[in-house]
Symmetry: C2
Subunit: 337 residues, 2 copies
């Protein structure tokens, strides 16, 4: 896995061209390509370039409909329900957060629940989308079953990523977390390197906690954060997403063996509409200032807030080029030849 | 710590009488007493009877104002901002969730953010309050600093309890979780019994994970669920509560050394207004049915959903009497003599 740096614009062009080859209308190809490239740009290649070939395979299988446009199927107050019509998950999620932001700019708050959509790739993108519009953004998705319930010996819960994003002039705070302690992708990398995870990461076949990625991956027994707590939170997020969107719950997503037809919720809050614009920035500033003063166990390290590295990494990668896995990049470029 | 069972009505009467002695108006005394008694009734004495003497001490110190009535200080769309005026936290929280439910019954969704309020005791009460009105309920509070940030060697974050409650005819699902793996109260009980916690519970003085409650309690180094993840979620909940309510953040709550003047958020969703009433119950039923079919490591045990035990425990305690810690109960009864 050697890295190479590719200009951000080139990354977008290549991905966009491939999507156009795969029947995407040009504006949709450009948006989906930008969202993939943005993930790699921000330092999250696992849900950027490294996921692109998997995305293509879902398009080829017909599980992702390149040009399906979401349809609003219900509305009450500042809550809307949409059918994603199995369109590309990142395009759908971008649209859903955009609608939530529009609602918030009108009424202070907007909630968009979307059924029948697809994997949104990097969750954090939609948090950044909200803060870039000076809104608070909250969103979550369900997934196929990939974690056990507490005490359970089979995957029943999704790792159901959750994003909470708060805008701040000196750097927004963007939490992007799944409910499993570690992503399977991360565990697979450790396994390949013959290493254990740094903390308990899942369960072995007897139900004991283990740091060994192999057994965890084989049995899909990733540990929910906080054991019964993260398991409970995962269950609630799944139920909220399926109920509010009128869509599938995790156990239904899992039925086909493929991960499609997900349920997601997008919330935006517009602080200026709520009379909170200055207050929000002041408060965010104070909280982060206090946090950064925390004493640490390692005197050379300061504690970090969620998303703190992103702007620096983004800037660096814009200047020097986006790091890509050479093998994956070569496979992708080859598609165009 | 011997247990004794006391009729639920007697428990309420005694607590209510003591609150009246402490200048509470009778209806307020009755409500606060009911919320304390309800916690013990539902099997959560740590935030019921066992916390009552601490509550009295805060009233005596003037940190809780028995008859302060919250005031609405802002409103936009279905979001309201309230000043809790340092009234009793459980009465204030009950009022705030009631207002959120009223907003939801009118507009499908209601959000009430409350500043300047006090410890709400058992978080789950307000989730049960929402589901008893057939609403989805979500609420969270900040606290004084009692957990470290990831890598931090001092308490900077609150354990910030979060409740998500979904109504269901065959038993509502009510998640009530703080962001620390274990409550300090629970760790204190293990310490008293000379026992280690069953899982990693916090950090020792070198920053290593430990199951030993003593060191954790001494240094206020409880482990956030999922380490950096729960730490991040705690930070975001604190910021959301302080920003939306216009109130204090965790680091300000901690400044005085006492825990008062908190910020909280209450959300209610009314499914029938959203056209979701039947769908919600069907979906909730399906999810729970699938979950309960999970294979388990211990064949004699089934996995449980959040809040599953509550109705059974409540019924049992209504019939047989509410278990109380004899020492605490005797101290409380003595106040009236």
């Amino acid at each position: 896995m050697k890295d190479q740096r590719i200009p951000f614009s080139r990354l977008q062009e290549v991905l966009s061209s491939i999507l156009i080859q795969n029947q995407f209308f040009p504006d949709r190809a450009a948006l989906s390509a930008r969202l993939f490239a943005q993930s790699s740009l921000d330092g999250v290649p696992s849900h950027g370039l490294n996921r692109f070939l998997h995305y293509l395979s879902y398009i080829k299988k017909g599980l992702i409909q390149p040009n399906a446009v979401p349809e609003r199927i219900g509305q009450f107050g500042s809550l809307e329900r949409w059918n994603g019509r199995l369109g590309p998950g990142n395009i759908n999620a971008h649209l859903a957060m955009k609608k939530a932001i529009q609602l918030a700019k009108k009424s202070g708050m907007g909630v968009v629940a979307m059924q029948n959509t697809n994997h949104w790739m990097r969750a954090g993108n939609y948090g950044w989308q909200a803060v870039d519009e000076a809104c608070i953004g909250i969103c979550f998705t369900n997934t196929k079953p990939n974690m056990p319930a507490y005490g359970g010996s089979e995957a029943k819960l999704g790792n159901n990523p959750l994003v909470i994003a708060i805008p701040r002039k000196n750097g927004s705070i963007v939490l992007d977390m799944a409910m499993s302690q570690f992503a399977y992708g991360k565990m697979a990398i450790f396994e390949k390197q013959g290493q254990n995870m740094p903390y308990d990461a899942g369960f072995d076949q007897r139900g004991d906690l283990t740091k060994s990625p192999k057994e965890i991956i084989e049995n899909e027994l990733a540990m929910p954060i906080g054991l019964w707590k993260g398991a409970g939170l995962s269950l609630m997020l799944d139920m909220l997403a399926a109920i509010l969107s009128g869509g599938q719950a995790t156990h239904e997503v899992g039925e086909s063996g493929e991960e499609y037809g997900l349920s997601q919720v997008f919330v935006a809050l517009e602080p200026s509409k709520l009379g909170l614009e200055e207050w929000m920035d002041t408060k965010a500033e104070q909280v982060i200032e206090d946090l950064k003063q925390s004493k640490t166990f390692d005197n050379n390290k300061k504690v970090r807030y969620p998303g703190e590295q992103t702007l620096r990494v983004r800037q660096e990668n814009l200047e020097l080029g986006v790091p890509v896995d050479v093998d994956i990049w070569n496979q992708i470029v080859k598609i165009l030849e």
